[in-house]
């Protein structure tokens, strides 16, 4: 009995130590609810150390779809919201969940497809025409289907093209950008993605950019401080310091300086 219980004690001790380690408080930290596109592209890995060095504030990022990020922020589970769905962001502020919304940076959406180009849309720069052609061709299209910023944008483009996408060719993956790209590439489907995720994506297969360059495919990112009036736990000063830095010359220069393979991923456009 003693041997068994002493090993139990040892286990309990390890467990208690583990728990104690978990309770270690971060001195100054904020929580940012953000999108997978900014996190998966490596932007934060590049950006945050600079801000952390300058301010001493640790930035923790939860990367989920824009829809879920907004929901989490509405539940007060975050100090700053950094997403890309302007209409939803403005609604978030109008309903009192956010203080103000600022334009931060942009890039654009693109449609990628297999080299064989079964829909014959490669090289097009009119997205509505391309979507129409795609829907008639019967070639597969993989959609996020997850209420993310990218999904909202995709739906608005189908609507603008006057098409109700449905049928066997239209495959809603219900998952993040990377997972949708993996699935789409696996089944030879066209996929709409933000350019940053695409450039940094590691499993491109024989896929190429098929449709790009339409002003309609502009992708604006915004940043919002979660409203301390609604959420008293919001770290107002530190969250605002992060936003101020992002919008400052230093922050904007840092965003513009992030490159992968010589390509700029995000274009700063704070006013």
């Amino acid at each position: 009995m003693t041997r068994f219980s002493s090993s139990l004690h040892l286990l309990a001790l390890t467990g208690a130590m583990a728990l104690a380690g978990g309770a270690q408080a971060q001195d100054k930290s904020i929580l940012v609810q953000s999108t997978t596109s900014t996190a998966n592209s490596g932007l934060y890995d590049y950006l945050l150390p600079e801000f952390e060095k300058a301010s001493g504030i640790k930035v923790n990022v939860v990367a989920v779809g824009t829809g879920q990020a907004i929901k989490n922020a509405q539940n007060c589970d975050g100090d700053v919201l950094l997403v890309h769905a302007k209409a939803a962001e403005e609604k978030f502020v109008a309903e009192g969940y956010g203080v103000t919304r600022s334009d931060l940076m942009y890039n654009d959406f693109i449609i990628v497809g297999p080299q064989a180009d079964p829909a014959g849309v490669a090289g097009m720069n009119d997205v509505k025409a391309a979507l129409a052609k795609l829907s008639q061709s019967g070639a597969a299209f993989a959609s996020r289907g997850d209420d993310s910023g990218t999904h909202k944008k995709e739906m608005s483009l189908w609507k603008a093209a006057g098409i109700e996408p449905s049928g066997e060719w239209y495959r809603s993956t219900g998952s993040g950008m990377g997972a949708t790209l993996n699935a789409g590439i696996g089944m030879g489907a066209y996929v709409m993605t933000d350019r940053a995720t695409w450039i940094s994506f590691g499993n491109k297969g024989d896929y190429q950019i098929a449709v790009e360059g339409d002003p309609e495919m502009f992708n604006q990112y915004g940043v919002i401080l979660v409203n301390p009036d609604k959420c008293p736990t919001v770290k107002q000063a530190d969250g605002q310091a992060f936003i101020d830095w992002l919008l400052s010359d230093d922050g904007q220069k840092a965003i513009g300086g992030y490159q992968i393979d010589g390509q700029q991923l995000f274009f700063p456009d704070a006013e």
Binding site: R3, L11, A18, D45, N75, G176, G178
Partner: protein, 235 residues
């Protein structure tokens, strides 16, 4: 195939290059899942022993319920814990969401039914075997529980390992309540999910292999402890 092997070797080099960050991720995985296993054993063994020995109406229904809860989807457990720990939820004031503690809590909920259900079966079998013996010794219920817990210790260690395996391998719960935050709540499985979504499939696969090796190491350690303990016991 050679390309594949080379890609794999490259991935392992990448993993080694992650050095400090990688050690941190492995350490947190072990810390979270071992703590959850420990807590689930404390609760689950008690519950299992009670269900094995006690006789009351509704016992069978409770056993079926506990058995069924072994099939709890991690995502559902994650959501349940998220809704409770969210600032908008009943325990939001604790400020535990997106911390390792929240991950431990979620995994504990996930694996406690496994410990309870499997240990109940082990202990009930033992109890059936020794029931008359216990009666002749005039052992009280607590004494009986202690005796069968001790007697079934090796099977129960396997139960604990099953629970540990489930917790260290799951991603659905910890990604929701932990948020996969770098340097804070990133564990092996959420790192694998992240690398997959970045399209770094080889790196993700290599991380999976590492996870398997870690599980092997934990199992090997436990079974060598067990072996040496049983040798001592019979010496």
């Amino acid at each position: 195939m050679q390309d594949f092997a080379r890609a794999f070797a490259d991935s392992f080099r990448q993993i080694l290059a992650l050095d400090a960050g990688f050690v941190e991720i492995v350490g947190l995985s072990l810390r979270v899942s071992l703590t959850a296993t420990l807590l689930s054993c404390l609760i689950g063994l008690l519950l299992g022993a009670w269900l094995a020995v006690a006789r009351f109406s509704g016992r069978q229904a409770l056993i079926i319920l506990v058995n069924a809860m072994m099939g709890l989807p991690p995502v559902v457990v994650g959501l349940f814990v998220y809704l409770n720990l969210s600032r908008a939820g009943p325990f939001g004031w604790l400020g535990l969401l997106y911390t390792p503690t929240a991950m431990i809590l979620a995994q504990t909920i996930l694996i406690t039914p496994i410990v309870a259900a499997l240990s109940r079966q082990v202990l009930e079998d033992l109890h059936g075997e020794y029931g008359e013996h216990f009666a002749s010794l005039g052992l009280g219920r607590m004494g009986q529980v202690r005796a069968i817990l001790w007697d079934g210790r090796y099977s129960l260690i396997t139960v604990a390992l099953a629970a540990f395996g489930r917790s260290v391998a799951e991603v659905g719960a910890v990604i929701i309540v932990g948020g996969n935050i770098e340097h804070l709540t990133r564990v092996m499985t959420t790192a694998i999910a992240l690398e997959t979504s970045k399209g770094n499939l080889q790196l993700a696969m290599a991380l999976g292999m590492v996870l398997l090796v870690i599980a092997l190491a934990v199992n090997g350690l436990v079974s060598s402890l067990r072996l040496s303990a049983s040798r001592l016991g019979y010496a």
